[in-house]
Symmetry: C2
Subunit: 398 residues, 2 copies
């Protein structure tokens, strides 16, 4: 059959058609009233998308750039910082802290698991200046307990910095209520546009820290960006076409909420949660094991490869037979698991389709028969159950 | 009359239609064979575009990001560096050096002028670790003598770093022959695509310096990017849609050279040189003064506002009457000059059109009569002269 190219990777994700059009037709200079209007509208909308009253910055870089900025703007050489890591992105926090000369303490958990809050509490000594963590660890499909961690940091001098690059738009995060000081996202995730923009929201206590933090920074100087943003501009040339795409994506999210961006964001989160639930049900019905069963994220589902099968063969078969790009494990996890994304622009047909394809792929790579429809039926039951429950509780049915 | 929106700003510049289409239709994951092929092809083509055999990096950021990387990868805290500045972008080098704790020595020239090579030689003491300069200073329209500066640095331990963000594709630069160690460009300039990518070529002696340079860096860690690029990848998520646009733009430049990218790049430079020559002739025929008469760049022409006229009124009139966005002066130069760009996707009709519009704008803001056709005729004469000369010398006529 014809094979459409489809991304099921946890970033880049499928691009919203309205964003593609906006991006292609946009050609505005960035120091004009028209662009300032777009820029200011996007920044205001991003507050609703993130769920914060704090100032938001959107920069031209990948998410790693704003992760670096969160280290360089908030620390000085020699500062003690606490990194919570249970995957490749947690390890990036550790490496960033070291690159800027911080004394990095680590709380780690095995890949696919999350942290003991007791251990976090134990290592959160009064000299810790900042705590760095992921909301969802994209390399393992695990969700971390941001609220539980914030309950510990809020009472201390330590700032809490959360990489929610795959968490925003897939997980309910009460950024201001919990006391998250910096929360970070990326354009190519739940926001349904290409990579090239990263964003963050910054609490007043984090802005205050920047006054004394001494690590060198220039391109990612958050205070300079905030000053420019107050005038509807960015400090350096913004990625204008991606801003136009972001504006279109936020309009789409608003439409999902019948004109209310916050409601639309909640609907987008519920959409990812349901797609994840369907996928977990489907995979488990086929006898497959989840990689992060105790704390699965809604952004993506990481599924263990059957014993003796390199997950690379599964990834390859998905691509060759169905044009579907799913993600392999990263680093040491390569070959052990494959990852199917739910964040952003995925619907029922996408979710059912990839599970049906999984049945064929599994039969092919294991050489064992599969009862076709097993994963699909389990996913349908999860879908029908969620609709039934929404109707019973009067909440919005996805 | 109908007013089409047209950018005559020295970045962002008008976007190549083929790049817009490529950008809109591209949706490939960055860890796939398809993207690796695009990535590697673009990096190889960029060597020809820049005119170097050195390794090239293309990163997701504005040009300022790679300027920062050139400081952080090549210096250590306390290093003495020499900044040559005659405009807003030269001042950015100074600020970047200070941000990373370098001991910054400065050779400056008034806005609109260039440096005394004698003064550069004088300040280029043996302890200078790097020299930072612009090829063309976009804020004043001045061209600096990169070859003359390289002749001084090549014999010393000092690395030469050239911000050619508006210089590449508008100026002949013999990067390897002269001994330029780092040369920097941006996507939204002569390359005719939106902002969001910055690039650089790095000499072996600069790669070597990075082994001992200690300034903190992570997102702009050039050595990590080089290692990833050898495998057809970027260290962090690349701005995929802009890469697709860049591939299309490089194909267009190759077509300009009848299949030869270097010849196409030379044609693009000659195109900017001719548009600049036409614009200078037109402006001067109207009695206007150039802002950088002794060393005008081909990337843009900066024209002084007539005595008593705020150049903001000229910029406004261009926009309101003709939909044409020209640039005002920056910082202290605001109100004193306006800037018309020639870098990238401009042709004869664009150049003649903006000069004809200038005649109406000038009549309107000064309230004095203008003999219509004065600037246009001077530009036509410059064009005809250039064609005649090209025919006489057997070089490619633009």
């Amino acid at each position: 059959m014809l094979r459409k190219n489809r991304l099921f990777t946890p970033g880049p994700t499928p691009i919203l058609p309205a964003a593609q059009t906006a991006m292609a037709s946009y050609a505005m200079h960035h120091r004009t009233a028209d662009f300032r209007a777009l820029f200011s509208r996007v920044l205001a909308d991003m507050k609703d998308f993130i769920g914060t009253k704090s100032d938001v910055l959107v920069l031209a870089s990948s998410g790693t750039g704003v992760m670096e900025g969160s280290v360089s703007n908030l620390t000085s050489f020699g500062d003690k910082v606490l990194v919570l890591t249970a995957g490749k992105f947690g390890e990036r926090w550790r490496d960033l802290g070291k690159a800027f000369g911080c004394a990095v303490e680590v709380v780690s958990a095995p890949y696919g698991e999350t942290f003991s809050l007791e251990e976090v509490r134990h290592k959160l000594t009064p000299d810790v200046r900042a705590v760095f963590v992921q909301a969802t660890e994209s390399s393992t499909g695990a969700r971390h307990d941001v609220k539980g961690i914030a309950d510990l940091t809020r009472k201390t001098e330590a700032l809490l910095v959360v990489d929610a690059i795959t968490g925003l738009g897939t997980t309910q995060l009460d950024v201001d209520g919990w006391g998250v000081d910096v929360i970070i996202g990326g354009s190519q995730k739940a926001l349904m546009i290409p990579p090239g923009l990263a964003y963050c929201a910054i609490s007043e206590r984090a802005w205050k820290r920047m006054e004394s933090a001494k690590s060198p920074r220039y391109y990612f100087d958050f205070r300079r960006e905030r000053k420019a943003a107050a005038k509807g501009e960015s400090a350096y040339t913004p990625a204008t076409s991606l801003f136009a795409a972001l504006g279109a994506a936020l309009d789409f999210v608003r439409q999902m909420g019948d004109g209310d961006l916050v409601a639309g964001r909640d609907a987008l989160i519920a959409n990812a949660e349901l797609a994840a639930e369907m996928t977990r049900a489907g995979a488990q019905a086929l006898g497959l094991k989840l990689f992060a069963p105790s704390c699965p994220a809604a952004a993506l589902t990481a599924i263990q490869s059957p014993t003796g099968i390199d997950s690379g063969a599964i990834v390859k078969q998905f691509r060759e037979s169905f044009g579907a790009v799913v993600a392999n494990g990263q680093g040491e996890m390569k070959g052990q698991l494959f990852r199917i994304a739910h964040l952003g622009y995925y619907d029922y047909l996408d979710t059912i389709g990839i599970l049906a394809a999984l049945e064929h792929v599994l039969a092919s790579v294991t050489g064992k028969p599969v009862t076709y429809g097993t994963a699909v039926r389990a996913a349908q039951e999860a879908y029908a159950g969620a609709r039934y429950q929404a109707a019973a509780t009067g909440t919005r049915a996805m």
